[in-house]
C-alpha cells in the first residue's frame, strides 16, 4: 500500500522529533482523541521519544471502550435468540456485558458472526430470508456513514429481516465535555483525522476559541502523529489556539458532504451514555423515525433493558486523562486483558490494554508478577 512506509520513515521521524525537542520550553499536556492514534503511539513507542515536557493523554476515542454496558447487554440478549444471526466487527466480541460476552453467546449456540463491513451483514440477510439478521452498529463518525448507507439500502431494497443495534457516538461533544470538566488538564488536542475526513472541521473553531486550546487534525501513521504533536506544541509555545489541519491528504474543511447527507437522512442526534464516563448530551446518533423498522432495539423489544454499571474501575478517569492506566491500583493485577475490569482494558485500542501490552517493562513489578515474571526496565 503506497503511503504507509513513507509515513513510518525513521529519518523523517527523527527530524520531526528534533524540531519538537527544539521548540518545547515547558510542560504541555496534549490529548490524542482517537483510540487508533493511542494504539499507534504505544505500538511505535512514540511517547518514549518525545521530550519529557510533552505529555500525551489518551482520550475516550475507542468506540469499543465507550459502548455502554447496557448496549452490550442488549446485544447479548438479541444474539442469544435462535432466530437471529448477529453480525459484528471482531473486537466487540470480547467486550464483557453483565457476566457474558458475545464469544460466550456463540459458545452457547448463538449464531454470532464476525463481518468486515455492514454490507456483509446485509448480504447475509439476503441469503437467509427466514432468519433475523442484526448488525451491531457502533463507532464514531468514521463507521457511521457505511452503517447509515447499509440501513438505507435495506430499506430501499425491502430487506425486512435486517436491523441494526445502533450505539454511535460523536467526537466534538466529548471534547466539549472533557474541556468543561473543572479537573481538565488538556492544553491541546490532536483531533481524529478519520473522523474529520467525514465531518470536516467546521465544529472545531468554536471549541478552540471557547476553551482556548489548539486543535490539530492528525492522522495515524507515526509521522502523522509527530507532525500533529509538532504543530500543537508550536501553537502552545506561541500562545495560539487555532484549528490546524495536519492531515490534509485525507481531510477537507467541509469533510465528505455525501457521507454527511447520508448520516442526516438515516440518523438523528441523541444524548448518549459513554461507558466509564456517563451521559454526554447530544453526543450520539440513533436511527431516525423514518428507519425505525430497522432499529433492532424496537424490533426485539430490548429498549427496556437497563443496566446499572457497578463502580469497580477508574476507566472514566483514564478516558479523560486524569489518570494514567498504570496509576490505577487494579492495573495489571485485578485488571488485565485476560480479566478486564473495564472496557479500556478490553479493546486493543483502549489505553489500559495498550499500556499493558506494550509498556509493562516500565511499570511496577506487580504487573509482571501476574504473569509470574520479574521485570527489569529496559534502558
Amino acid at each position: 500500500m503506497k503511503y504507509i512506509d513513507e509515513f513510518q520513515n525513521p529519518e523523517l521521524a527523527r527530524r520531526l522529533l528534533d524540531d519538537i525537542h527544539a521548540t518545547v520550553t515547558r510542560p504541555w499536556a496534549l490529548m490524542e482523541v482517537c483510540g487508533g492514534q493511542t494504539h499507534s503511539i504505544i505500538r511505535h513507542g512514540i511517547d518514549q521519544l518525545l521530550p519529557e515536557q510533552v505529555e500525551l493523554i489518551h482520550g475516550p476515542g475507542c468506540p469499543v471502550c465507550v459502548t455502554p454496558l447496557e448496549v452490550i447487554d442488549k446485544a447479548l440478549e438479541i444474539a442469544s435468540r435462535p432466530e437471529v444471526i448477529f453480525c459484528s466487527f471482531g473486537d466487540m466480541l470480547r467486550v464483557p456485558g453483565t457476566g457474558r460476552d458475545l464469544f460466550q453467546v456463540r459458545g452457547e449456540g448463538g449464531d454470532v458472526r464476525v463481518v468486515y463491513s455492514p454490507l456483509d451483514a446485509l448480504k447475509i440477510a439476503r441469503q437467509n430470508p427466514d432468519r433475523e439478521v442484526v448488525f451491531f452498529g457502533i463507532g464514531f463518525e468514521t463507521t457511521a456513514p457505511p452503517n447509515a448507507m447499509t440501513v438505507h439500502q435495506a430499506r430501499s431494497q425491502g430487506i425486512r429481516n435486517f436491523s441494526m443495534l445502533v450505539s454511535h457516538v460523536r467526537v466534538p461533544p466529548a471534547i466539549e465535555a472533557i474541556m468543561a470538566s473543572p479537573d481538565c488538564r488538556v492544553q491541546g488536542f490532536l483531533a481524529a483525522g478519520h473522523v474529520c475526513s467525514v465531518m470536516g472541521t467546521r465544529e472545531y473553531p468554536e471549541l478552540a476559541e471557547r476553551f482556548r486550546v489548539p486543535i490539530v487534525v492528525t492522522g495515524f501513521e507515526p509521522l502523522d502523529i509527530l507532525e500533529g504533536v509538532r504543530r500543537t506544541v508550536r501553537q502552545l509555545e506561541r500562545g495560539e489556539h487555532t484549528v490546524d489541519n495536519a492531515y490534509a491528504r485525507a481531510v477537507r474543511p467541509e469533510g465528505n458532504p455525501a457521507a454527511r447527507a447520508m448520516l442526516e437522512d438515516v440518523f438523528e442526534v441523541t444524548d448518549r451514555a459513554w461507558r466509564g464516563i456517563g451521559v454526554i448530551p447530544a453526543s450520539g446518533w440513533r436511527l431516525s423515525a423514518k428507519y425505525r423498522d430497522h432499529d433492532a432495539e424496537h424490533r426485539f423489544s430490548v429498549d427496556g433493558i437497563r443496566t446499572v454499571e457497578p463502580a469497580e474501575c477508574r476507566s472514566g478517569e483514564v478516558l479523560q486523562g486524569l489518570l494514567k492506566p498504570h496509576e490505577c491500583e487494579a492495573f495489571g493485577t485485578l485488571c488485565t486483558p485476560r480479566t478486564p475490569l473495564g472496557a479500556t482494558m478490553v479493546s486493543s485500542e483502549g489505553a489500559c490494554a495498550a499500556y499493558y501490552l506494550y509498556r509493562r517493562l516500565e511499570l511496577p513489578t506487580t504487573v509482571a508478577a501476574v504473569a509470574g515474571r520479574e521485570v527489569t526496565p529496559v534502558v
Binding site: M1, I4, Q8, P10, G36, I42, R43, G45, L49, V64, F89, G90, D91, R94, R100, D101, Q104, G107, E108, Y116, G139, F140, T143, E176, A177, A180, D183, P222, E268, T270, R275, I277, G278, P281, A282, E309, P310, A311, E312, G316, L334, C335, P337, R338, T339, P340, L341, G342, A343, S348, L357, R359, R360, L361, A368, A371, R373, E374, V375, T376
Partner: protein, 359 residues
C-alpha cells in the same frame, strides 16, 4: 426531530464514572481456547496436563522427544479444521502432512511415518474427499514420509465442516541433536526462515472474501530438508519453532518463558511482505501474530549464526531468511520489540484469537 438536551454541557463528575465487573472464568469452550494463545495454554495446563500429563507431555513442545528401545523418537499429533478446504497455495491435505512433519522437524527429526484420521461429514462429495486425499498423498511424497495407518469416521450432516483431519507422526532424532527452549542462552541469535503472516492472510482472504490487490498464496511447506541443511552446519542449534497459530509472537513468547531468557526483536528486520502488511493495516491486525505454515524460527549460538543463515538462504525454503533479534538476560520471559522509530514495546502472548479492529 431529534431529542437532545439543552446544549449547555454539564461537566463530567468523576464520581459518576463506573465500569463493569470482569469476566473471570468461562464456563464453556470459546474459539480462543484453540487460538494458540494464553487461553489455549491455560486449557492444557489446568485441565489436560493434570488429568493425563506425564514426563513427555511436560515438554510442551511442538513434538515430544521420547526414548523407545534405545531409539530417540520425536512424536507429534495435530488436528486440522481449516475452512475452506482448498485455498490459494494448498489444501487441508497439504496442511495435515506438512503441519505434523514440521512439528517433528522442530525436534530435528525427519518424519518417517504418519497416521491419518479422516472425520467426514455426511453429505460431503466424494470428489472433494478424493481431492483432499490426493493432495495429502502428494504432500507426503514431497516430504518423504509414508502414511502407515489411518482411520475414517463419519458424523451427521451439520456436525462438521465437510472434512476434519488428524495426523500423528514419528521420526528419529539424530544423535547429538537436542532442540529445546531450555538450551537457549543470552546471546543466541534469532533467525526466521522467511516472510511472516502469509498463510494467515491467504486463508483470511478466501474465507472472508477480502481482496488485497494481489492474490496471496499460503506458504504451506514441509521444512524437514531445511532443518537438515541447518543441522549439517551445526547440530548445536538450541531450539526451533514452527510459528503457526499465534504467529511469531506466540512462538517467541513460548521460548522466552520456557528458557527464562528475554528476547529482543528488531521490528524492521522481520520480513513482512507488502501484501501481508497491507492486509494487516486494513484489518487492524499485527503480522507478528498471524499464522505461518512453512516457516521456522531458530535460536542459534552466536558463533554459528552466520553459517546457519548462509545455509538457510541457500535452501529454497530459506531464501528470505533473516536475523530478527537475540536472546538477552534482561526482562526474562518477555519478548520486547525495538520499533522502527527507536522506541520499545512488549510483544505479548495473544489472549485468544486476534480480532480485526473496528477502526
Amino acid at each position: 426531530m431529534s431529542e437532545v438536551t439543552d446544549h449547555l454541557v454539564t461537566p463530567i463528575a468523576p464520581e459518576g464514572w463506573t465500569c463493569p465487573a470482569p469476566l473471570r472464568d468461562r464456563p464453556r469452550v470459546v474459539m480462543g481456547h484453540g487460538g494458540g494463545g494464553a487461553l489455549s495454554a491455560e486449557l492444557v495446563q489446568q485441565i489436560f496436563a493434570p488429568a493425563y500429563g506425564g514426563e513427555a507431555l511436560a515438554q510442551m513442545g511442538d513434538a515430544a522427544a521420547v526414548t523407545l528401545g534405545g531409539a530417540r523418537l520425536a512424536f507429534s499429533t495435530d488436528s486440522y479444521v481449516v475452512r475452506p478446504l482448498f485455498f490459494p497455495g494448498g489444501s487441508i491435505g497439504d496442511l495435515a502432512v506438512n503441519g505434523t512433519v514440521n512439528d517433528l522437524a522442530m525436534r530435528g527429526a525427519r518424519a518417517a511415518y504418519l497416521s491419518c484420521g479422516f472425520i467426514l461429514e455426511e453429505g460431503v462429495e466424494l470428489d472433494v474427499v478424493s481431492r483432499v486425499a490426493e493432495a495429502l498423498g502428494a504432500a507426503a511424497r514431497t516430504a518423504g514420509v509414508e502414511v502407515a495407518t489411518g482411520d475414517t469416521k463419519v458424523v451427521e450432516s451439520g456436525h462438521g465442516d465437510g472434512i476434519y483431519l488428524n495426523t500423528a507422526g514419528i521420526g528419529l532424532v539424530p544423535t547429538g541433536v537436542d532442540l529445546r527452549p531450555e538450551r537457549v542462552v543470552p546471546g543466541d541469535v534469532v533467525i526466521v526462515s522467511g516472510a511472516v503472516g502469509v498463510h494467515g492472510v491467504a486463508i483470511m482472504s478466501v474465507r472472508e472474501g477480502l481482496e488485497f490487490g494481489v492474490e496471496i498464496e499460503s506458504d504451506c511447506a514441509a521444512l524437514g530438508s531445511l532443518v537438515e541443511a541447518m543441522l549439517a552446519v551445526t547440530p548445536d542449534l538450541h531450539v526451533l519453532r514452527d510459528p503457526t497459530r499465534g504467529g511469531l509472537a506466540a512462538a517467541l513468547n513460548e521460548i522466552a518463558q520456557a528458557s527464562g531468557t528475554g528476547v529482543v526483536l528488531q521490528e524492521r528486520a522481520v520480513p513482512v511482505p507488502a501484501a501481508v502488511a497491507n492486509a494487516c493495516a486494513i484489518l487492524g491486525l499485527d503480522p507478528l501474530y498471524v499464522a505461518n505454515e512453512g516457516k521456522l524460527v531458530a535460536f542459534v549460538p552466536r558463533e554459528h549464526a552466520d553459517a546457519v543463515l548462509a545455509a538457510m538462504r541457500a535452501h529454497p525454503l530459506g531464501r528470505e531468511a533473516a536475523v530478527i533479534g537475540e536472546a538477552v538476560d534482561t526482562h526474562p520471559g518477555m519478548v520486547v520489540a525495538r520499533t522502527g522509530l527507536g522506541g520499545t514495546r512488549v510483544v505479548d502472548l495473544p489472549i485468544g484469537e486476534q480480532l480485526p479492529r473496528i477502526c
